[in-house]
């Protein structure tokens, strides 16, 4: 899980949008509960914006340098899949840098 | 009831207002006269207009309403301003404690009237604004709550009064029995206007509402502030006549005391003049209660 520590090298900002109560956002909510502390400790400078809004589809947004953004829809994904999606976003960041 | 002392002469603007009303009505009348040809209807109208004119005059002849209390707002003066220090005297501080102890601790503000009364007695019969502030502090309310009470009750004087504050009852029974003459006599004798203090600071004359002595009307009250709150008295002098009030004033001026109550030597308290006329014997019990008769 070494990629977790390099979040701030590739990302400028990570945004997790989710609903406070809908079942579609359930896995995202548990993902945040379980991983936020870890991600924040490893990347203390990176803004990890968690934005609740009723009825919104869970999404993961990454902003890279020069305002480039990529997103992943998280509806129906399990926690492991969300982790994987995040890792993919990190990889995109690496490829964008190159 | 309103005194006749406030006639329209003291209120020039009222006179001018009524004069303009009159000229307006006259104009209207002449206008109507010019418009109407029929002499019958013109006299009729003239009469009506004259009647209305008389009514309007009547309105202005009535004394304008005046209020027994002083102004409802405070004006700073050297002897009455919030910067003056005012405190209850040491003796009165004990009294304050005792008064407050009569109320539940969470309803201290209920003591406002007795405390204002005490402050008034201590301060020679009137309440400067700093005394009201002191009361507010004691009962832990905003000063305005005390001002509200002090302005509501006419017994709280917010301007200086004499050492003997004479209050003439002006309510209907006393008025019918001649309270107006009594007041006029008092004012004339002392040479003051209402709520004004004599030069020697001894007397002032005020008016008040019914004190419940209608059976001995007319009556005056003498609030005696000459001896501070310890020697404070508030006595009724009943069945007074214009001559008698002058005598009372003179007695007080000499510093003598006068027993309160009826001033008619032929009456005992509120009993009828010349002794009882009814209920002279032992009343008979009602037959149903007379068990022996059964």
């Amino acid at each position: 899980m070494a990629w977790r520590g390099c979040l701030s090298h590739n990302f400028k900002e990570l945004r997790i949008l989710l609903c406070q109560s809908s079942p579609a956002s359930l896995t995202t909510r548990t993902f945040v509960e379980k991983n936020y502390k870890d991600l924040n400790t490893l990347n203390p400078k990176l803004p990890i914006l968690i934005r609740e809004c009723s009825g919104v589809e869970p999404q993961l947004w990454a902003r890279y340098d020069m305002g480039v953004e990529r997103d992943v829809r998280l509806e129906g994904l399990t926690e492991e899949q969300i982790c994987k999606a995040l890792e993919d976003l990190v990889k995109i960041g690496e490829s964008l840098k190159a | 009831m309103i005194s006749n002392g406030l006639n329209s002469a003291t209120y020039p603007e009222i006179v001018s207002a009524s004069a303009s009303q009159i000229s307006l009505s006259t104009e209207l009348r002449s206008l109507l006269l010019a418009e109407l040809n029929s002499s019958w209807s013109s006299t009729m109208l003239a009469r009506l207009a004259a009647q209305r004119l008389a009514e309007i005059r009547q309105v202005f002849r009535q004394p304008i309403r005046s209020f027994s209390t002083a102004l409802n707002y405070h004006i700073d003066s050297p002897d009455n301003n919030p910067d003056l220090l005012w405190e209850f005297s040491d003796a009165n501080k004990e009294k304050v404690k005792e008064i407050i102890s009569q109320y539940p601790s969470n309803y201290k503000q209920s003591a406002v009237i007795p405390l204002l009364d005490l402050a008034q007695q201590q301060h020679g019969g009137w309440l400067p604004v700093s005394a009201m502030n002191a009361v507010a502090k004691v009962i832990e309310v905003a000063p305005i709550r005390v001002y509200e009470v002090a302005t509501f009750y006419s017994m709280f004087n917010r301007t200086k009064v004499g050492k003997y504050h004479l209050l003439v009852c002006g309510t209907t029974p006393c008025m019918i029995r001649g309270s107006r003459e009594i007041k006029d006599t008092l004012l004339k004798h002392l040479g003051v206007k209402r709520n004004e203090v004599t030069k020697d600071g001894l007397f002032s004359v005020g008016e008040m509402e019914c004190m419940g002595c209608c059976v001995n009307a007319p009556m005056i009250t003498v609030a005696d502030y000459s001896n501070g709150s310890e020697g404070y008295t508030y006595n009724y002098y009943e069945d007074v006549t214009p001559q008698r009030v002058v005598e009372i004033v003179e007695i007080l001026k000499r510093g003598e005391k006068l027993p309160p109550g009826t001033q008619n030597p032929r009456r005992i308290r509120s009993g009828p003049e010349g002794g009882n006329t009814t209920l002279l014997g032992e009343p008979k019990p009602p037959p149903c209660r007379d068990l022996d008769a059964c």
Binding site: E69, D71 | N72, H74
Partner: protein
């Protein structure tokens, strides 16, 4: 009026007299306007029996009156004009009538104030009651038969109205209340067409209540609403009812200004023209004004307001009802800042010439100059600061623009150098403003709600009065208008509470609904992370944050803050401004200009020529909140939008449009051309901002955060708002606010 007309008017009653047997009729005046009112008791008897209440049309409650049954068993049924309504026990007859859809005329009754029952206008007939009853003060009893449109009730109203008008001057044509006057309306609806009073009307000396409230005390009808408002809501016991009988008057007794930050509300609650707005005096009639429902931006509360404008000018600001935020009050700053919108405005793009003076240029030139400079500096030397009054759209555009320029140094004023925007619960009022009413213990940490957010303070005061809630306050000496314990001045006290050494800790821990409010002024402190984690420790120990109750709140200071943090306006480096070469100030007037290097190029985009203009190289004129459509999120996370009430001044443009245009000139065109498009963009960043008129609560609490390892300093907390009346560029430009701060703020 011609002479003939006058005469014919005089003739008409005369001709009636000729036919009549009794010429005295000319002078006989009757007050009763309808025959059935002359003998109301008998005609009431004739009206019996009641028509069967079968086919009564359903009625809608007055003004959407809501009925809330705290306990369903306590419901009682009463009949209003034969129409049955279910109401909870303890409601008054007047409230029952409102639920039944009958509007009872009233003057002294106000739903948010205590009941006085002294105007008698609300008299209604109640069956089996010998006299008409004052419905505002009479509790409704089961099975009560209330009649509101019987001759008895009508005559009672007519009589009360006649009494009220006895001493009321007939100066409606020169009265500012004209057209929105309760007395005027109700005398038209319920009063008689004549009165029998022929004596002199009384007159009352006007009072000086300060620069905001104009008094014409002769018009006062002694309803005591203002006295009750000042005592109960505003918490300044200055007003009272003085004197008695017909000499009764409202006043302060001693010369005293009304030093409340809510004093303007007495203008709204005064049912007559006795208390009117001093700045608005003789400016306009209410029917000439166009009302625009908008949002206030002078503090972080987001009070709902109506901007009344005439042509291009904002004439006044009045509150709008919103139970969740401001109820029906607004602060004086909100109400009277509007004259600042007309002064010191920037109306043309300007460039500072070599001589140091500004020269008016076209938009094209100004944008070209800025775009060129922006490309000449390194991305990390670009810094953007959003101002206190910025809307979400413009902050989004600014952030996108700077991000695309390669810079990540953008923040909003007042959020500090190192803001943490990760969890919304960390900067929002999680209890919600209305939710504060449940609280029984408050702990205010470094915040003075009275000057920072007057409406929140009014809620706390309401709660303190209703629940006897205890308030503990940590911060510099201040005057809160409710009973409070001053626990200390700085972090020392906070540490004591956190370590359970302070007696207030047990008060907090024993509370059912404890509330901690942390001031946003602490964001500026170096040790803010530690202070926040100390507060979080207290919250955890005292069970302030539970699954059913989140009592840990942050009270923000300005309108833009919540949205800025939601949008992630977080600088990459806290002191980037010190090495900046290109500074974009979007309405930011409270940045420390000394920190900007001397060779930096400063762009100021804003609506007022305030502090930052003196440092600016280029000025972009923008629209003020009264001239644009923009989303603002308040301190509790409630997104609302303003609407344009008046046109923009001169060549000014909406903020987001300026940035959008600049981005095109700079060659990195932002992908939105309309308000809808930019809001769609916001939806991908903070979707809660486009959920308008809804509060989106935060779910993740601070417990997710790792502990802070900073060192706490023991410097005491400071005053954040020095002058309540002047906090931003609009209020600083306002003459009225200047008068207020000169007269009303304590030195």
């Amino acid at each position: 009026m011609g002479l003939g007309l006058l005469a014919s008017k005089a003739m008409r009653p005369a001709s009636r007299i000729f036919n009549s047997q009794n010429p005295r009729n000319f002078l006989f005046r009757t007050i009763v306007s309808k025959p059935e009112l002359q003998k109301p008791e008998t005609s009431a008897a004739q009206a019996q029996p009641d028509p069967p209440p079968v086919d009564l049309p359903p009625r809608t409650p007055v003004a959407g009156a809501r009925v809330h049954f705290p306990n369903p068993d306590d419901a009682i049924e009463v009949f209003v004009d034969g129409y049955p309504v279910k109401i909870p026990k303890g409601m008054t007859v007047l409230q029952a009538c409102e639920v039944a859809g009958v509007d009872i005329p009233r003057f002294c009754y106000h739903s948010r104030l205590s009941i006085a029952g002294n105007c008698r206008m609300c008299l209604v007939e109640v069956e089996k009651s010998p006299k008409p009853v004052a419905s505002c003060a009479m509790p409704a009893l089961p099975g009560m038969k209330i009649k509101t449109d019987t001759p008895v009730a009508k005559k009672a109203r007519e009589g009360v109205m006649e009494f009220l008008l006895m001493n009321h001057p007939l100066d409606c044509p020169i009265c500012d209340q004209g057209g929105e006057c309760d007395l005027q309306d109700q005398s038209m609806a319920f009063g008689s067409d004549r009165g029998r009073f022929t004596e002199m009307k009384r007159s009352v000396v006007d009072k000086n209540l300060g620069p905001l409230v104009k008094t014409v005390m002769t018009r006062c009808i002694q309803c005591t609403r203002c006295v009750r408002f000042a005592t109960e809501v505003a918490g300044v016991q200055d007003l009272g009812m003085l004197g008695r009988g017909s000499g009764e008057e409202i006043g302060t007794y001693v010369e005293k200004l009304m030093t409340s930050e809510l004093s303007g509300n007495v203008i709204d609650i005064c049912p007559v023209g006795a208390l009117t707005s001093k700045p608005f005096a003789f400016k306009a009639r209410n029917w000439e004004l166009k009302g625009t429902e908008s949002i206030d931006v002078t503090d972080a509360v987001g009070s709902n307001i109506r901007i009344d404008s005439r042509g291009p000018e904002v004439m006044r600001i009045v509150p709008r009802l919103n139970e969740d935020i401001n109820e029906e009050w607004i602060s004086d700053k909100t109400r009277f800042c509007y004259d600042g919108l007309k002064r010191q405005r920037l109306n043309d793009p300007m460039i500072r010439g070599a001589d140091g003076r500004f020269k008016v240029v076209s938009w094209r030139d100004a944008l070209a100059v800025v775009a060129e400079v922006a490309h000449q500096v390194k991305p990390e030397e670009i810094v953007g600061v959003a101002g206190k009054l910025s809307d979400a759209e413009s902050m989004m555009a600014l952030k996108d623009f700077l991000n695309r320029m390669g810079s990540n140094n953008i923040w909003c004023e007042g959020t500090g150098m190192n803001p943490n925007a990760d969890l919304r619960s960390g900067y929002l009022m999680n209890t919600s403003i209305a939710g504060l009413e449940k609280a029984d213990v408050f702990l205010l940490v470094g915040t003075q709600p009275r000057v920072e957010a007057a409406m929140v303070n009014a809620r706390i005061r309401k709660t303190v009065r209703a629940n006897q809630a205890k308030v503990g306050y940590i911060g510099p000496e201040t005057d809160l208008n409710y009973d409070h314990q001053h626990l200390g001045t700085g972090p020392q006290t906070l540490l004591e509470i956190a370590e359970r050494r302070h007696p207030f800790y047990s008060t907090l821990a024993n509370a059912k609904h404890p509330v901690i409010i942390v001031g946003a002024g602490l964001f500026e402190r170096e040790d803010k992370d530690t202070i926040f984690s100390t507060v979080e420790t207290i919250a955890e120990n005292a069970k302030v944050v539970r699954p059913d109750w989140n009592g840990l709140n942050v009270l923000l200071l300005n309108a833009a803050q919540a949205a800025a943090l939601d949008l992630g306006l977080v600088p990459e480096s806290g002191n980037s401004i010190e090495s900046a070469k290109f500074v974009y100030l979007m309405g930011a007037d409270d940045v420390n200009l000394d920190k900007i290097p001397g060779d930096a190029f400063v762009v100021y985009q804003g609506h007022h020529g305030d502090r930052s203009v003196y440092r600016a190289n280029v000025i972009f004129p923008a629209a003020a909140f009264s001239e644009k459509e923009g989303i603002y999120e308040n301190t509790e996370g409630y997104a609302q939008q303003t609407f344009p009430a008046v046109p923009t001044v001169g060549d000014a443009r909406d903020d987001w449009k300026i940035i959008r245009a600049l981005s095109e000139v700079a060659g990195i065109k932002l992908p939105y051309d309309s308000l809808g498009a930019i809001r769609a963009r916001i939806r991908t960043v903070a979707p809660n901002l486009v959920h308008l008129d809804e509060r989106e609560p935060a779910t993740f609490t601070a417990s997710l955060k790792p502990a802070s390892s900073q060192k706490i300093t023991l410097t005491p907390f400071e005053n954040v708002v020095e002058n309540f009346y002047m906090t931003d560029s609009i209020t600083r430009a306002s003459k009225i606010m200047a008068q207020c701060s000169a007269l009303l703020t304590k030195k």
